[in-house]
Amino acid sequence: MDVSTQGLTTEQITEIIDLVKKVHGFDFSDYSKASFKRRLTRVMMIKKLSFYDLKHVLLNDAVFFQNFLEEITVNVTEMFRDPSFYKALISQALPYLSTYQHIKIWSAGCSSGEEVYSLTILLNEAGLKDKSFIYGTDINTVVLKDARKGIYSFRNVKTYAENYQLCGLKGSLTDHFTVLYDAATIHNELKVNTLFSVHNLISDTIFNEFQLISCRNVFIYFETQLQEKILDLFYKSLCPHGFLCLGSKETIRSDFFKKKFKAVNQKENIYQKIGA
């Protein structure tokens, strides 16, 4: 069945959102509609499901749901994505962070862990790794398993090497990996101060206090009200003057939160919490 040409109606999408919420407790109602529709259409094509088949498996097949979640949420990520962001982090945030006794970092929506390990490498190069701890969270347990392993295809790591170079870091990205055939495994000492766990930004709450929260290219999938709800969660999870990093095209636009965060770097969307 060719779902791509037929197209899902708004009513059908609402039906799926309601079903997923009732049966599985995941609320996609404030998800960006255009993206949700595109991902849903894609799942139906890959799995060769009609609209009715999809409803059936969502209701009756628990294993399918994890798979569905993995396909609906976008898990494409890179190490050192946007080198200009990492450069700004090095020059504008690290000097400040280095004054803390402990640096706790939250990578929210970490997918398969590329950002977490990029940050670990960055902290290691700056000599701050031993007093740092990075929490990577995602709603998707499948990608978290990959994140914990820290094994990436060597081909991918080679493409991230260009990003690494542009960050101005010394040596090569591959220096931080053990390579065996096409498997590149991140060095163990870079994994020690990391923890990956499930956290749902939409329904879960504060779990620690952080000096830096990075949530890049997650807000693009959320509607504006939901973005603000999560900004509130981040605000409450940050220590005074803690940093918040959003994606390069994600800006704090709400007047309320503009007063609560100072833009440290407008172009890279690095913010700092104001007040206590």
Partner: protein, 196 residues
């Protein structure tokens, strides 16, 4: 030769101008931006294949030569008339039903992010017959499927004549699947866009 009345009317009645281009399209896009009048009364969305990580001069060059304000697309900004929007590198650009942009970092299509297909398909769903879409020179097949969706939705679809294009693959791919209402040379495209 003056453009025929049917195409001119459809162009004048459309609310959105979509431009897709890859290798060999820069000069044409540059020329188009120069031509567009200040009182265009349409939103212009440009998807051009571009390399990530290198801050390109495209926005600056285009903005200097445009009579209309020009921006790189940011997440959840509203689509306004008399504004030119350029899709950012390393994101796909989608359009929400309420007339806002939504960005996406999912897999590249035809090795491209931004992908012309993604934006064209999204525009077809949101705006159906209210667009004019032009697919220019390029060295892969991106844009053809999206253009077909726009055509099927009733929008006006134009493809650059492959004989006139620096890289004919992209126009050819669209023509092959019958996605073009009109096949025009660069000069004919300019002439049409002037007529509004």
């Amino acid at each position: 030769m003056a453009p025929d009345k049917n195409i001119t009317d459809r162009w004048n009645n459309s609310e959105i101008l979509l431009l897709g281009g890859s290798a060999g399209s820069f000069k044409l896009l540059f020329q188009i931006i120069k031509i567009l009048p200040a009182d265009l009364n349409k939103a212009v969305i440009i998807i051009i294949h571009r390399k990530k990580n290198f801050a390109s001069e495209i926005e600056k060059l285009f903005a200097e030569n445009s009579r209309i304000p020009l921006f790189e697309i940011n997440d959840k900004i509203k689509i306004n008339k008399n504004t030119i929007y350029i899709a950012p590198a390393n994101y796909h650009t989608l359009i929400e039903d309420d007339g806002y942009f939504a960005l996406d970092v999912s897999e590249p299509l035809w090795y491209s992010k931004p992908s012309i297909d993604v934006t064209f398909e999204s525009a077809a769903e949101t705006y159906s017959d209210r667009c004019t879409a032009i697919l220019l020179s390029g060295a892969n097949q991106d844009g053809a499927q999206g253009l077909l969706k726009l055509r099927n939705a009733g929008s006006l679809t134009i493809v650059q004549d492959p004989n006139d294009a620096e890289m004919p693959e992209m126009p050819d791919a669209a023509i092959k699947i019958n996605a073009a209402d009109y096949i025009l040379k660069a000069n004919e495209i300019y002439e049409l866009l002037r007529s509004c």
